[in-house]
């Protein structure tokens, strides 16, 4: 870590211990999102870190952003994800939007006053995203959108939604991207999904019923929507990897501390090799996934697009997080299974990291596709 990153981490650690950690358990139980935490993170400059200073961002790189996400994730994966998705949406608008769109939508997102959401998945198209069915029919001065988007992170609490809809024929080429805000007529929300984890981050269905969207809200050209959607993908995968690393770090930290303090058979349970080996494996796997995520972020910051490495970082870091958090519950025994200790929540939160931003099965497909290309051209 460079000096700036160390400073970011120190600053954020203080903040999270004071302002996030005390609420993490209760908010998981109540399924409650605290906007004030997000806004505070915004005030500290963490809600649009990779966006240009022209639009209120911090103009920093993904390596720096990963340090921040890792630190937030130690206390709350839910808040880390809210920040990461909102930043991804900003990245899309910055990369593909026109100046009017950037000036109109970015400042309130980079400042953390409002949240951004990304609407690609539908009930019938998850992994197979380009099969989406939501339609955008051309009409006078704009498009009329109909359909429904599923599993939308920050659905209902976000103000700005990047929505992928079909303006043309089947396949990727028929998809266009639009920016919608929550007060637009015809945009409604389904009920809050009940989930295994990530409970402090609301997930809702976004319903589009004869929703008129002016032409000026289209991102890029007609038919570029899938390219827009994929544009945020590499960065999105790295950020999910970073969140997984932060979560793993906390789970290991809790496990070592607990096993040094807990005595059974008249000695700290850390003394037993069965637990030592478990934690040695946890630490090694964690280190390997951290290096992978950091390398992928560094290459992205240097402008070297390496989608294979981004997929590998997401795949490895999230599989490791699942393993480490599961073992952390095991190290804690009975109390680890209760909500008195954070590790059971961490285990529930880890599972979805293997599913979002492309399931880990899809990451394997992507990696294999790159391998084939490397060998066969």
């Amino acid at each position: 870590m460079n000096d700036l990153q160390k400073e970011l981490q120190t600053q954020l650690e203080k903040f999270r211990l004071k302002a996030i950690e005390p609420y993490a358990e209760g908010d998981d139980h109540e399924e409650k999102f605290r906007m004030e935490i997000f806004r505070e993170l915004g005030n500290l400059g963490f809600c649009g870190m990779t966006i240009s200073e022209d639009f209120g961002g911090a103009g920093l790189g993904y390596s720096d952003f990963c340090v921040v996400l890792k630190e937030i994730a130690k206390s709350s994966v839910a808040h880390a994800v809210t920040v990461s998705v909102s930043t991804m949406v900003q990245g899309i608008i910055e990369k593909f939007g026109n100046d009017d769109q950037k000036n109109k939508y970015l400042p309130e997102l980079t400042s953390g006053a409002e949240i951004g959401a990304f609407c690609l998945s539908e009930s019938g198209s998850g992994s197979d995203a380009k099969a989406l069915k939501t339609t955008a029919k051309k009409t006078d001065g704009g498009y009329i959108l109909n359909g429904s988007k599923m599993w939308i992170t920050s659905g209902g609490i976000a103000k700005t939604y990047v929505v992928m809809a079909r303006t043309g024929g089947e396949g990727a080429g028929g998809v266009s991207a639009f920016i919608l805000q929550d007060d637009i007529e015809g945009l409604n929300f389904g009920k809050k999904e009940k989930k295994m984890g990530w409970k402090a981050s609301p997930t809702r269905e976004v319903l589009l019923q004869n929703c008129f969207v002016p032409t000026e809200n289209m991102i890029g050209e007609e038919g570029q929507g899938f390219k827009v959607a994929l544009g945020g993908l590499d960065a999105g995968r790295i950020t999910i990897g970073a969140i997984a690393v932060g979560l793993s770090e906390r789970a290991l930290d809790e496990s070592v501390k607990y096993s040094l303090g807990r005595s059974q058979f008249d000695q700290p349970i850390f003394n037993f090799q069965g637990l030592q080996f478990m934690m040695a494996d946890m630490a090694t796997e964690l280190e390997a996934s951290r290096v992978l995520v950091e390398t992928a972020a560094k290459l992205l910051d240097e402008g070297q697009v390496n989608s294979k490495l981004c997929s590998m970082a997401k795949l490895k870091a999230t599989d490791v997080a699942m393993k480490i958090t599961t073992d952390a519950v095991q190290v804690h025994g009975g109390v680890g299974y209760t909500s008195e200790y954070p590790v059971e929540r961490m285990m529930r939160d880890a599972k979805v990291l293997q599913i979002v931003e492309g399931t880990n099965q899809i990451q394997r497909v992507v990696i294999a596709r790159h391998l084939k290309k490397e060998y066969q051209g």
Binding site: D128, K195, V329
Partner: protein, 380 residues
């Protein structure tokens, strides 16, 4: 090699039907609400399984470990939480009374437990003594015709609903000076602490038993002073085998749900079951489940034939819950976003199953037992 008697075959069918009708429809509700399906529990009394291993003369079914495990498996497919409460009652309380209590004690307590009029639990773990169970500190002081008990028991399944508690206490300073009592709620023998919130098994109430200088008649002592270690050891095998039955049920439910989903869900223009990645997951989880089933049935069958021993039961308890967690995690993964939502049962099954790697002896304690026994055998 195991086989089912006609009676066991019939029991499995009846329990499957009972689980479908009485347990499954309410499983998600009780998980969400952290509540206990007491109606279904009471109906298990009518079904005749609450005293599955108890003697017929006390109203029990007089069946064995294989039969009890089949009930766990079938109920476990529908709602592992409620099944855990069933296990705490029928195995930890009823079966322990059946095999350790006097004829008078059995005649007094078993009939109401077997019908479900009374609910039972067992108290062993304490806040500071989990894996190290022999170290427990709940004290029972001998006053002649009575005992004064002080202490706290932790993670007690059914605590809040129990009329009868089968409890281990310390009656002497030597490590193994432990004695067992039957305690009665309506005689004020125990108080119940606050409920414990858990990751899974939320349909099964968990609480503390608190003994604040309570006076218990000497007639409630089981056997004689110092018998507890013998009592504990005697039934550990059946406890570990039956709890593994819940994990077997969980694995079977996951496989069933995955097959159904892979045949229905379409992505990239075809059923996801046509992708080799998904085929691999299903083929492997089905194979592992089949191994678990045969291993467990076999050990239960041999147990009923009189073949006992701590090593194989600990092996089952180590491996079956561990494999079931892996299967349930894969089942969520196979369902993608839907698997993570509470719309499908797989995330609940995973949360529930994790407990089985911890309760009734953690995986680590199973490893200790297996290794210690194997290494000692070699050393002799």
């Amino acid at each position: 090699m195991w086989y089912f008697s006609d009676e066991e075959k019939q029991l499995k069918e009846v329990c499957k039907e009972f689980a479908r009708k009485e347990i499954a429809p309410k499983a998600e509700h009780h998980d969400t609400e952290e509540s206990f399906n007491i109606e279904a529990f009471k109906k298990m009394g009518e079904l005749g399984v609450l005293g599955i291993t108890a003697d017929p003369e006390y109203g029990g079914a007089g069946m064995g470990c294989l039969a009890a495990t089949l009930v766990m498996e079938e109920f476990g497919k529908a709602c592992p939480g409620l099944t855990l409460s069933f296990l705490a009652h029928s195995i930890l309380a009823v079966n322990n009374i059946q095999s350790n209590a006097s004829a008078e004690q059995k005649a007094k307590y078993l009939p109401k437990l077997v019908t479900g009029e009374h609910i039972g639990c067992m108290g062993m773990s304490e806040p500071e003594y989990g894996s190290d169970a022999i170290g427990i500190q709940t004290r029972a002081k001998n006053n002649g015709d009575s005992y004064s008990i002080n202490g706290t028991k932790m993670w007690i399944t059914n605590a809040q609903y129990s009329d009868i508690a089968y409890v281990y206490t310390r009656t002497g300073d030597e490590r193994k000076n432990l004695s067992t009592f039957i305690l009665e709620k309506d005689k004020g023998h125990f108080d119940v602490g606050k409920p414990i919130h858990k990751m899974g098994m939320r349909a099964s109430p968990t609480g503390e038993l608190i003994f604040d200088n309570v006076k218990v008649p000497a007639e409630n002592l089981i056997g004689k002073e110092g018998d507890s270690v013998y009592h504990m050891m005697k039934n550990l095998d059946i406890e570990r085998l039956t709890i593994s039955g819940i994990s077997l049920g969980i694995a079977e439910a996951c496989v069933e749900q995955c097959i159904k989903y892979a045949n229905e869900r379409k992505q990239f223009g075809k059923n996801i079951g046509e992708f080799q990645l998904i085929q691999k997951m299903i083929a492997e989880m089905a194979t592992e489940t089949e191994m678990m089933r045969n291993f467990l049935y076999n050990l239960c069958y041999r147990y009923d034939q009189g073949e006992r021993g701590p090593v194989t039961a600990a092996m089952a308890k180590l491996q079956i819950p561990k494999m079931a967690t892996k299967i349930a995690l894969d089942a969520i993964q196979l369902h993608g976003g839907y698997g993570y939502s509470r719309e499908f049962p797989v995330e609940r099954l995973m949360r529930d199953n994790k407990l089985n790697e911890i309760g009734a002896g953690t995986n680590e304690v199973m490893i200790m037992i297996i290794a210690k026994n194997l290494l000692q055998e070699k050393a002799v």
